[in-house]
């Protein structure tokens, strides 16, 4: 190794430390003092926060999960396992929603995985939305629909159609509540989603209209 490469390596190390260390410190200093009786478990949870911060994961989601366990008087070991499991899902969601998912998108992705949405669907939903636009809301709605009993493939299909047709986040977010009211009236969740998605689609411009309105020379 020549001197120049050694300097470059040293500079990279310093830069990495300077970037990572403050977030780790913030995670450790900002982490709440959790009411977990077992000291070792409490420290293990705190370490999980620090590890997540160093990997660029949203620590606030982990803190909330730990606090939820404390509020629900769960055993310390169960809280640690829940935090650790969420950290793994966050990391998986970050990779699936790459290249640069926001905290909200990672949390939405992790929650989707938790209710059984297949990992490949996170990639599909990312691909269906314009780069740079947040997929947090569509993922949240997908999670809600799957939790209500709509098969994940059907929910994804309806959502991606709505997204491609230009449905607004508000229109997409309202789907879950609409489906619930139909389920209460006796429809199956799947049928309710289809009816409601059609209702939203009837308000959107047709694909032909979108093509016609698209600026000439650009791909619609």
């Amino acid at each position: 190794m020549n001197m120049s490469r050694a300097k470059q390596l040293l500079a990279a190390l310093v830069l990495t430390s300077a970037t990572v260390a403050p977030s780790v410190l913030r995670a450790q200093q900002g982490a709440p003092v959790l009411d977990i009786a077992d000291v070792r478990t409490r420290e293990a949870v705190q370490r999980e926060f620090a590890r997540a911060a160093s990997r660029g994961l949203p620590v606030r989601a982990l803190i909330a999960k730990a606090q939820e366990g404390v509020t629900k008087q769960a055993a310390g070991e169960r809280i640690r396992a829940a935090v650790s499991s969420l950290a793994r899902r966050l990391e998986q969601a970050r990779d699936l929603l790459s290249p640069s998912p926001s905290d909200a998108e990672m949390i939405a992705g992790a929650d989707a995985l938790a209710v059984g949405v297949p990992a490949t669907m996170l990639r599909q939903i990312r691909a269906a939305y314009p780069a740079g636009a947040s997929v947090a809301m569509p993922l949240d709605v997908l999670t809600e629909l799957v939790a209500r009993g709509v098969p994940a493939s059907n929910a994804l299909s309806q959502l991606t159609q709505l997204m491609r047709r230009g449905a607004t986040p508000t229109q997409i977010a309202g789907l879950g509540a609409s489906v619930q009211s139909d389920v209460s009236a006796g429809l199956t969740p799947d049928a309710a989603l289809e009816v409601r998605a059609r209702g939203v689609m009837s308000l959107l411009p047709s694909p032909a209209a979108i093509s016609a309105l698209a600026p000439r020379g650009t791909r619609p």
């Binding site: 803190i63 909330a64 999960k65 606090q67 939820e68 366990g69 404390v70 509020t71 629900k72 769960a74 169960r78 809280i79 396992a81 829940a82 499991s85 969420l86 909200a104 939405a108 929650d111 938790a114 209710v115 947090a136 809301m137 949240d140 709605v141 999670t143 809600e144 629909l145 939790a147 209500r148 009993g149 986040p169 508000t170 977010a173 309202g174 879950g176 509540a177 619930q180 389920v183 209460s184 199956t188 969740p189």
Partner: protein, 386 residues
């Protein structure tokens, strides 16, 4: 009962169980319970009889009205058999949350050693007045029984009071019966003046029930006396207990004396039962807990986000708290408004998990929200704010 009829009754029970289980899959929040077990029944003047019990309960998650229907089958080899079905609805008044009307209908088919073969239909209606931890009702009921070709009618009016202190529930009920069902009442040891055609009875009943954690113990004492030309003097004590051993499973047992019920055509008997209760709903619902009638709604705000309102109908609750992502899972006490408990929270657009806890019990999701597991053996509700 012939072998063919037994086979038909068993087939009907299986078909009903399948139907109920299918309904449970279609309706996410539907509460379905199956109970199976053993009973030992001794009717006055007869030897003990062993019997098999099957009971089904179906309670759909309607948001405002309460509805429950159940079917019970009792079968013993030596002609002690009965099938009962009950459907009841509980309707809150729009004028006031403190008023509720309960009405129901029950049907039964039986083949009993003591009183013969036949059927019964009964109806009841009760008007409830509810306060925070106590309440009262007044009601009336009628029943028509046909037994070996002999028809009879029975009527009753009842008045009841109840009070709850934490996990302890107490009630006192006074009932006045009038019945022409002489085969049932004579077989149960009730006498009358030979010139009279009508039996008059007066019952006083006290019930104490303790619910604590997975345990539920109930004790009932009933005193019955004859009125006018009817001679009757009975006392009966009945114990029942439930132990929840898993999310979906509970053990149930009972022992004691049940007095004749002319409204429903049920004979007087010493009863011992032991059974297993299983919840078949798509999500494990606590077997013991009375269904939590919590409802969440979102009112969109002009500047974005929405107002999440959660209302819990739990007139007898001492304290209800709500927690969720929006409170960083710190519990917030809900406010009492009449017989309802209410929480209103202004939220930014996004997804939130929410749970409600009544009297320090389990954390439950509001009934109309999508429900998810919470990593701690419980559940939470999901709400998306546009």
């Amino acid at each position: 009962m012939t072998a063919r009829r037994r086979f038909a009754a068993f087939g009907a029970a299986v078909a009903l169980a399948t139907l109920v289980a299918s309904a449970a899959r279609a309706q996410q929040a539907t509460d379905v319970r199956v109970e199976m077990g053993y009973a030992n029944i001794t009717q006055s003047g007869f030897s003990q009889a062993d019997a098999a019990l099957i009971s089904l309960l179906w309670r759909p998650a309607w948001e405002r009205w309460g509805f429950v229907t159940s079917a019970n089958f009792t079968y013993a080899q030596d002609s002690l058999a009965a099938a009962q079905g009950v459907a009841a609805v509980d309707i809150p008044w729009k004028l006031s949350d403190r008023l509720r009307t309960e009405a129901g209908i029950a049907g039964a088919s039986f083949s009993l050693r003591s009183t013969g073969r036949g059927g019964n239909v009964s109806t009841f209606v009760r008007q409830h007045g509810l306060a925070s931890n106590y309440g009262a009702w007044v009601g009336g009921a009628s029943g028509a029984t046909d037994r070996d070709g002999v028809s009879s009618r029975s009527y009753a009016v009842d008045i009841g009071l109840w009070q709850r202190w934490g996990p302890l529930y107490l009630s006192a009920i006074g009932t006045r019966h009038r019945s022409t069902d002489w085969p049932l009442l004579v077989a149960s040891g009730v006498m009358r003046d030979p010139d009279e055609n009508v039996f008059d009875l007066r019952d006083g009943q006290l019930t104490a029930q303790l619910r604590y954690g997975p345990h539920d113990i109930a004790f009932t004492y009933t005193s019955r006396t004859g009125v006018a030309e009817t001679e009757a003097a009975f006392e009966a004590v009945y114990w029942s207990g439930t132990l929840q051993i898993a999310d979906r499973v509970a053990l149930v047992g009972s022992y004691g004396r049940q007095l004749a019920d002319p409204l429903r055509g049920l004979p007087q008997a010493e009863v011992l039962t032991a059974s297993v209760r299983v919840s078949l709903g798509p999500k494990p619902l606590p077997v013991l807990e009375r269904s939590l009638i919590a409802r969440a709604s979102v009112e969109p705000l002009a500047l974005g986000g929405g107002m999440l309102e959660v209302r819990v109908f739990a007139a007898d609750a001492l304290e209800i708290v709500i927690a969720g992502d929006f409170s960083e899972w710190k519990p917030i006490r809900m406010e009492r408004e009449g017989t309802m408990w209410v929480s209103r929270t202004r939220l930014a657009p996004g997804k939130y998990r929410v749970a409600v806890q009544v009297n320090g019990g389990e954390w439950r999701a509001p009934r109309n929200l999508a429900r998810v597991r919470d990593d701690f053996g419980g559940e939470a509700g999901l709400v998306v704010i546009p």
